[in-house]
């Protein structure tokens, strides 16, 4: 037997490994802190929760700051509506903005109420057509910007636009939901990519399959739950 053969024989000893639960418990016992050896468990850590909370807060504060006076940039952000546009949520969001902008310049009460009615219809349509899953983060940003302009114009109208409060609130809620979904989607995609390189038990493989199905059905929260379950096994 030559040296290379002996080294190869020695390598078989690499199969000797400690129990995973023992490794985890020992680390916890020594440091007195709850620790995670499985990478995905950072999903449950305060850092992760904090990061998610911060993203949601930033998004919400974005929506919440709409009533603040804005620079001329925002005025220019209200685009002219081309009538031949596709009648999707973009069309209705822009229409609502433009109509509300116009309402601010009208003095006659009857004409103003007509315009407010028009704005209400546009807002309701926008709520109806707003996607729960935007195509990409850039699109979410654009939607948020548009909602921001609508709220600004609505605030300028005051009591006269009272009937627009409800659809605007609905629009805000739906936008919030959309942002949350977007956060979950990004998270799930990252986790699925990482799991591709891991050795999984049969049970974990089954959970991964279910998580992928949820992801394909755009149910990102359920997918994330499955991933958490999987990584805790």
């Amino acid at each position: 037997m030559n040296e290379q053969e002996i080294i190869a024989k020695l390598r078989v000893l690499e199969e000797i490994k400690p129990r995973r639960d023992w490794m985890k418990n020992t680390l916890r016992d020594i440091t007195g802190q709850r620790t995670y050896l499985v990478n995905f468990n950072f999903l449950k850590t305060p850092a992760f929760s904090f990061a998610i909370l911060m993203i949601v807060l930033v998004a919400l504060s974005w929506l919440g700051l709409f009533n603040q006076p804005k620079s001329d940039d925002f005025k220019t952000a209200v685009l002219e509506i081309a009538e031949n546009d596709v009648y999707d949520y973009n069309y209705y969001l822009e229409k609502a903005s433009k109509v509300l902008e116009k309402a601010k310049t009208i003095d006659q009460t009857d004409k103003k109420s007509q315009v407010v009615k028009e704005a209400k219809e546009a807002l309701e349509k926008a709520v109806e057509k707003l996607p729960s899953h935007p195509k990409n983060p850039k699109e979410s940003g654009k939607i948020v910007e548009k909602v921001k302009v609508i709220k600004k114009n609505l605030a300028a109208l005051g009591e006269e636009a009272k009937e627009l409060t409800k659809p605007t609130k609905q629009l805000e809620e739906k936008t919030k939901e959309m942002i949350e979904n977007e956060i979950y989607r990004i998270k799930v995609e990252a986790e699925l990519a990482m799991l591709e390189n891991r050795t999984l038990t049969d049970e974990q493989k089954e959970l991964l399959k279910e998580a992928k199905n949820d992801y394909n059905n755009q149910d990102y929260l359920s997918a994330l739950e499955k991933i958490l379950q999987l990584t805790n096994q």
Partner: protein, 170 residues
């Protein structure tokens, strides 16, 4: 500070726990004892890192192996009756995800190699495991053993020759 220490320790732990456990296991032939001694090794590191004086550990890897080695020596001083390797225990301890035939083959190989290694004298066992299995450098081994690099080279060579003979016998 405490957070940094915890992060630093966790990093060292994750990096070395398997190797230290394996090193101890091969020498004591018992899962229970290997777990106890490995825990003790890392507990000592944790305590040493927490101390401000004496100076912080510059080479945690060397500290771990040195402590593991000393604990194994102490263990045999307290319990001189060496425990014989049991194939059942090997089956339990190894993390296998291979086929049944492959499992049996690996079990048998581990038993053979471990038996041969256990017949080597203590220093030879250490250098063989560190150099060939844990990929420690000659320099690192010389620091752990407190011997010159040349002495370590000679020791590895002699240990290898001896192991060759023993593997023929087993």
């Amino acid at each position: 500070m405490a957070k940094n220490l915890h992060f630093h320790f966790k990093k060292i732990y994750k990096l070395h726990i398997e190797k230290i456990y394996r090193f101890i296991y091969i020498k004591v032939n018992s899962q229970q004892i290997a777990e106890d001694l490995t825990s003790e090794v890392f507990l000592r590191l944790w305590k040493a890192l927490q101390k401000e004086n004496p100076s912080p550990i510059k080479n945690p890897k060397a500290f771990l192996y040195k402590t593991a080695r000393n604990l194994v020596i102490d263990h045999y001083r307290s319990f001189p009756q060496r425990k014989e390797i049991s194939i059942e225990e090997i089956k339990d301890m190894a993390d296998f995800s291979q086929s049944l035939e492959r499992k049996e083959l690996i079990n048998s190989e581990i038993e053979t190699v471990q038996k041969a290694i256990s017949k080597l004298k203590n220093d030879y066992q250490d250098v063989i495991l560190w150099y060939y299995l844990d990929n420690l450098s000659i320099e690192e081994i010389s620091k752990i053993l407190g011997k010159s690099e040349n002495a370590v080279r000679v020791m590895i060579h002699r240990a290898m020759e001896k192991l060759k003979e023993l593997l023929k016998e087993v």
